[in-house]
Amino acid sequence: MTAYDRLKIVRSSDRPQGHDFVEALFTDRFELCGDRRFAEDPAIMAGIGYLGDQVVTYIAIDKGKDLNDRMKKHFGCPLPEGYRKALRLMKQAEKFHRPVVCLVDTLGAYPGAEGEERGQGQAIAENILEMMGLRTPVLSVVIGEGGSGGALALASADRVYMLENAVYSVITPDGCASILWKDASRVQDAAACLHITAQDMVDFGVAEDIFREDFDRFDKMCGEIKTRLLCDLHALCAMSVPRLLEERYNRFRRIGIFEENGSIRQ
């Protein structure tokens, strides 16, 4: 299967969305709203719930149920207030010493005038910066599209997992094709060149593991994901905070391939 085939799969609307995963993964949930600065962004669906026996803060990007819902959620493209809501709840999780689980599925942050007026770049930057110092474990699962900075703002985490067909990219293949070749129809070539598949993420050290997809037995699949997340959470919760932060720092610190004085470093 090519990268483009997977891109088409994750963009299909009959695929389970953020809200489906939230319902299947977390029990006894209480949803929380608003960034306490400007507004509520429904594209970010967040709250407190149980992952098995563990209380967690969950933060999911949701593309929406029907057309109306999708339009309200900008098809899963968060506004700055969405990222600030996510950050508020991460800080709250830090205060109450509970881990954070993020579910990522976005084409990217919403590209609109209102987003720019309210500091879309600054909102994402602040999330990344604060996540690098967040004193509680953070897990991120890319369940569909991991679109650029808009995804990284919820994925500067201790562990990142990819669903089997999920993709993660520095720019949408569509955007890449139109910038590079001035031809948006070459999205297939761009998808291949950008290396966006789950296996690519594991190869580059961007993700730890890949979750097999079985949407016909969705609850069973989510049960397996839950078991894995809980296992990793328990290990992370057992770490001292300085060690947790050190390992998170190093997780990103070692990513990069460059040449130094004639030899390749990676």
């Binding site: 942050a109 609109g112 720019e116 910066l129 110092g133 650029s148 966006i196 990069g256 040449e259 390749i264």
Partner: protein, 280 residues
């Protein structure tokens, strides 16, 4: 971590002198008049004819800010690799290196301004639009790590087209890598001052360019996250003329001040003085 000795004694591979006096012509993109580089250095790259701000090459920017002979370059031997075999990347890199004499899109090091020491990174728009890949990410990260260890403030002069797509997801991760180093520097109680210059966009805006304690912006510079064309195409909205300029940023609360070049040096010196590193 590598053991380091003293502020200016970190062992580096020298690649010639940091500043050359080579004379060549630079054309003002506004009035299309050409000027000698030495003339523009005297005018701080403000067009003598029409007053437009001409983009400043990284080394010339440092020369305009730093005390004379105070700059020491770091990690000059780091350069990019086409590890994805991305179409056209190798050629782009060769062209950028030939055109600029640089090995990457950022120059890093330490300098003094008004006698006070400061770590500095300056991005160079002539090098693949100063997009941020592994080389840029590594150099900025090392600079912040050094500044944290040596308890130095950091000045970042940004311009960038965003993350370098020719390095795929690895370039996106540089945003988190650099931010991690910025966070440690910040938690050590040290000053990070950003000067946004034309153009600062995309992944740069969504990371290190917007993580400063103090954010300054050059007059009229383009600063934003999403591209103007993308926004127009996606939303069909008509955008104001000053959309995504420094002035727009100031108006919406995302910059502290517009900094004209005439004030650049003295303002940076003042901020360093206010943040307490002794003059040496």
């Amino acid at each position: 971590m590598v053991k380091r000795f003293g502020l200016f004694s970190r062992r580096r591979v020298p690649r010639g002198v940091p500043f050359s006096d080579e004379e060549y012509e630079v054309t003002c993109s506004h009035c299309k008049k050409a000027f000698l580089r030495s003339v523009l250095l005297d005018s701080q790259f403000i067009c003598p004819e029409c007053g437009a701000y001409i983009r400043i090459p990284a080394r010339d920017r440092i020369r305009l800010i730093a005390d004379k002979d105070s700059f020491t370059e770091f990690d000059a031997g780091i350069t990019s690799v086409d590890f994805l075999g991305f179409p056209g990347y190798r050629e782009k890199l060769t062209k950028a290196k030939d055109a600029t004499g640089e090995l990457s899109a950022v120059v890093t090091g330490v300098m003094r301004v008004g006698g006070r020491p400061c770590a500095v990174y300056v991005m160079d728009s002539r090098f693949i639009m100063a997009s941020m890949g592994s080389a840029v990410g590594e150099k900025i990260t090392r600079l912040f790590e050094y500044a944290t260890e040596m308890r130095l403030p950091v000045l970042g002069v940004t311009c960038s087209g965003g993350a370098r797509m020719q390095e795929g997801i690895v370039s996106l991760m540089q945003m988190a890598k650099c931010s991690g180093a910025v966070k440690r520097h910040s938690e050590a109680g040290l000053l990070y001052c950003v000067l946004l210059t034309d153009p600062t966009t995309g992944g740069m805006t969504a990371s290190v360019a917007m993580e400063g304690d103090i954010t300054l912006a050059e007059p009229g510079a383009l600063v934003g996250f999403a591209g103007r064309r993308v926004i127009e195409q996606t939303t069909g909205a008509e955008l104001p003329k000053n959309f995504q300029t420094s002035e727009f940023l100031l108006e919406h609360g995302f910059a502290d001040a517009i900094l004209p070049r005439e004030k650049m040096r003295e303002t940076i010196a003042l901020l360093l003085r206010q943040h307490g590193k002794e003059a040496v």
